[in-house]
Amino acid sequence: MNPLLLLILIPALTMAGIMLAGDVKQARVISAVGMSAQLLFSFVLLYWFYQLRQSGNTDEMVFVSTTVWYPSLNIQLKFGIDGISMSMIMLTSIVTFAGVFVSWQVEYLTKEFFISLILLATGVFGFFISLDLFTMFLFYEVAVIPMYLLIGIWGSGPKEYSAMKLTLMLMGGSALLLVGLLGIYFNSAANGGPLTFDLMQIAKNGLPREAQMFFFPFTFIGFGILGALFPFHTWSPDGHASAPTAVSMLHAGVLMKLGGYGCFRVAMYLMPEAAHAMAWFFIILTTVSVVYGAFGAIWQKDLKYINAYSSVSHCGLVLFALLMMNETATTGALLQMISHGLMTALFFALIGMIYGRTHTRMIDEMGGLMKVIPFVSVLYVFAGLASLGLPGLSGFVAEMTIFVGSFQNVDTFHRVATIVACSSIVITAVYILRVVGILLLGPVRNNHYLELKDAMWFEKLGGVTLLVSIMIIGIAPLWLSNLLREPLAAMLNQLTN
């Protein structure tokens, strides 16, 4: 059996286990065990992956297994990973692991909560290991839909509205995407042969130019909506604001990465000519996104809104870098995906912890938290520093790779765009420090807060896992960068030819 299938099987078993669980406590423990196993297995997978590479295996994809599923439509269950998917899998398992621990105290419909959460994660895992557009799309939707319940049931504030808006916008995105995918499918055999959903095969066959020009926008925007592409990002602030902690974490941390990954793996990789022809337009959009999100974040008062806008900015940077279409920028984009995934998950985890204690997310209602809940606060500062790109934390590595890479494009347009995008690092600093200043520092504004308890063990575990990951990437980025870069040469070759 393909070891990759374990990535789906473990969560599936966990879900089954939770379903059978007798009480809340058992459900919790089973989820924790399951997701720990998943995390462990991802490490094992990483090890195997390295071993394979070390042993001289230079296949584009490894652990490939192909099973014909619908023979008449040539739909396959084709799985396989390369360095990019490998790192995304790591990201997902880390965030899910942390997410389970952070939601330790969910009391209402606990079993259902964990099942939905893990179902979401399963979708993400499946998406990342799929090499067939059909299964990819299937897992994509599997990942999106539990959001509705998760936000709607366990969320806060105008949760129904937000959940609905998020779901509909993302599904609207998948509407575009579906058209794009079908277009790809029906043009996948321009030179004869059977139509196919097989990613690698399509890349090999190439799509006719007219088809590319028509379907690229569908596919790119379709994925881009999930990647918070301006102006289709508005689901993000509302959605995050209402979502329960772990869901925000998974969503911003992992699910939004599906967008970027898809934009690259599917839209750009399969339709290089169109990507080249239309990059300018999307570069403008993403550049706007980067700056706009950052400026938007400055004015917000709700912690989650701040982080959501910041995500818009950071995810904009991902797409921005992808569109630069060179090895360095693309590596940067992938690094940024991982880095943003980890730090935004950390952010949301911490916001959840703060909200759980103070019952507000309005920064001007709080103050001086550093004194009362130092552990959470310190983590928050770290997350903030990672977000504004402090060296030694992951954000810096990603952003610098992006900027250096983007600057390799010699024409004025790309350079001006790069410089504009660069300016976001200042704006980011402004809103991060503003929040830190108002929220954590200064005198304690509300005397009730003096009795708050600092993070519990499970919260600490969740937060520290994320922080350590951020630091590892920040301090020793080379292995990750190489892991991500390794498949890029071939892919970019496709893109530039």
């Binding site: 599923w69 619908y70 023979p71 008449s72 439509l73 739909i75 059909f134 799309f137 299937l138 897992f139 939707e141 599997v142 839909i145 509705y148 319940l149 709607g152 049931i153 949760k159 129904e160 959940a163 609905m164 779901t167 509909l168 599904m171 609207g172 998948s174 509407a175 575009l176 579906l178 058209v179 079908l182 277009g183 499918y185 029906f186 028509f214 569908f218």
Partner: protein, 469 residues
Amino acid sequence: MTWNTLFIMRHEVLLTLLIMYELLADLSDETNRTRMVNVTIAGFFLYMLAGFVPSENAALFGGMYVNDELRVLLKNILSVSTFIVLLQSSGWAKSPIHQGRAGAFYLTLLSTLMGMFFMISAGDFLMLYLGLELATLPLALLASFDKEFRRSAEAGAKLLMSSAVSSAVLLFGLSLMYGIYGTLQMEDIAQMNLNSDIHTIAIIFFISGLGFKLSLVPFHLWTADVYEGSPLPVTTYFSVVSKGAALFTLMLVLYRVFRYQPEEWRMPLYTLSVLTMVVGNLFALRQKNMKRFLAFSSITQAGFMLLGFMNFGRIGMTTIVYFMLIYGLSNLAVFGVLSIIVRATGKESMDDLNGFYSTNPRLGLVMLLSLFSLAGIPPVAGFFGKFFLFTAAASAGMYILVFIAVLNATISLYYYLLVVKAMFINKNETPIPSIQSTFYEKLAIGICLTGILAIGFVSQLYEYIQGLM
């Protein structure tokens, strides 16, 4: 007339026997409702099993009646659906107010089913028309079956009036067809490739007649009123079996008979599809009554079904049948839960569902899954059904249509989620109390659920259907 003929016609023959039983039971003033229901269900079950026995392809009665493997499959799909309807209606039929009514009910219901079989098996437009009438007239009576309620009476009258017009229009089309071809034998017509304005008119009139049964916009207006007014089992039957029969018939005729004139029916269906999806969705958005809501939802679904017709080949037919199967099971599951609720409480408003999950988690979950299936959300079967339909449309290069369809699927997701929201999210002081469902109801839901969960993953089914085309 040999045994073999009877065997080939086993669906119709066995149904006739069942009908006879019902007639006798009705006439003999059978008072034991429970036994009657049980016998009917058991009999139907046996009949249904017999339907699955493979038989040879044949054209009987000088080509009036055709049966082949595909048609057997289609009939079996309808049989299974009807079986589920029977299971679901068992509680309804056993209730005291239906004293002395079950016989009439089953008799009418089964004769409509037989009418549908004749529609499917028709080798001649005469049979098709006959089948259509047999499937429609008693249905109008069924819609009025709850004699106590004014709404039910209204539903029956509305259905009859409008369906009579629709069948008149269909007949007018058929008469023109007769004038053009000189025959109504499908086999003969299929040999000829004629094109003319009058042919177009004939085809459109024909499509409209079936489109009426299929609830395509603008021929759909009866749907919501009739669904809402009819007794719930009848509504279920309408939305799945009756619709399925119309769809299958339309498919068989268009693909098999008018195979040389695809352009003449594709464009009308394109237009109807867009109209149906959009209008169905727009109406479904604000419905509060579950039956009415499901009526519009089923209208929208019919719009989706038309996407399959964009492809002239095997893919088109396959996806249509496949989707209908999945849609049927999903809808039946929704109605199954609804029927349990209605049986236990008589409530059928969406607001009554508030907080449903807290008291009836299992039923809530079933409802959730089946709504997701209707909305086309993976991993439940609806996703596969929709995806393949879109594939069929896209294969004809109709990407704009696909896009419109997917957007409409998104809108439809909105209102399906409204139900989910009611059940899972909305709070309610006095939610529907925990309901104990009967064995029949459980069985019905079990069949549907198995189908919804498994069909997508068992690709053999799809391949099997495709093999029949």
